[in-house]
Amino acid sequence: MDRHPTRRSLLAAGAALPAAGLLAVAMVRPARAAAPATMEAAVREFVGEAAARQGRVKLEIPPLVENGNSVTLTVSVESPMTVTDHVKAIAVFNEKNPQPNVAVFTLSPRSGKAQVQTRIRLATSQKLVAVAQMSDGSFWQDSADVIVTLAACLED
């Protein structure tokens, strides 16, 4: 029966197409460039009701990078890393990549030292934020501004 599309199925498909197109645009547009507000929302989702205070966290990234395709980023947190007082998680966020999240690292007292390093992509010059979740439920953060001369996501 499905060898030839019926008039009804064609009409239905025709009606669905523009709607699907509109929906796709609506969904993709905000995602294409996470605005500062999107980053704040992502940070809010990570910290919940708590407030992230400045301090204890150190976010290290070169202030000026030539190539946004691979930028070394280091986050370290002042913590004795004992069973009673340790860093549970470190999350990194960005302002202007298509998505506000960069990575979430889960640590434990067995980490011994609260420091992680990775390499990230940067779509353009922007601000980065690192938030640490402590075992006592508090959150600490640090931010850094980066200038990118050659953006990621543009090359084919």
């Binding site: 990575a103 067995r110 390093q117 390499r119 990621a152």
Partner: protein, 106 residues
């Protein structure tokens, strides 16, 4: 996925934290790029990384498209005893790659 590099110090002392550096070969396709004929290239990234020390998970990471291709992650752990470190990377396609490194704690 194929090809992983893992670096641990030659000398590891009991009770002291040591750094573990890892890198796995993966394109980390963001899903935001378009191919030569304009079609969207589907997202394919390593979204999860874990490290277990003698069977107990000591570190994990949730990764997003902002992580550069061939994801590099370095972190620390306290040396407790000699044994095995097992690293697992899982990508969007559900493929997992596991690497094992034996360590000797002095």
């Amino acid at each position: 996925m194929a090809g992983a590099l893992i670096n641990v110090p030659k000398e590891i002392r009991r009770g002291e934290p040591f750094e573990i550096k890892t890198l796995v070969r993966h394109p980390m396709e963001t899903g935001y790029r378009r191919g030569a004929s304009g079609e969207e290239i589907p997202r394919d990234i390593v979204n999860r990384f874990t490290c277990a020390y003698n069977g107990q998970e000591i570190f994990s990471a949730d990764l997003f498209p902002a992580i550069a291709a061939n994801p590099f992650i370095s972190f620390f752990t306290v040396a407790t005893e000699s044994g095995e470190l097992v690293f697992t990377w899982t990508d969007d396609a559900g493929k997992a790659q596991t690497e094992t490194v034996k360590i000797t704690v002095a």
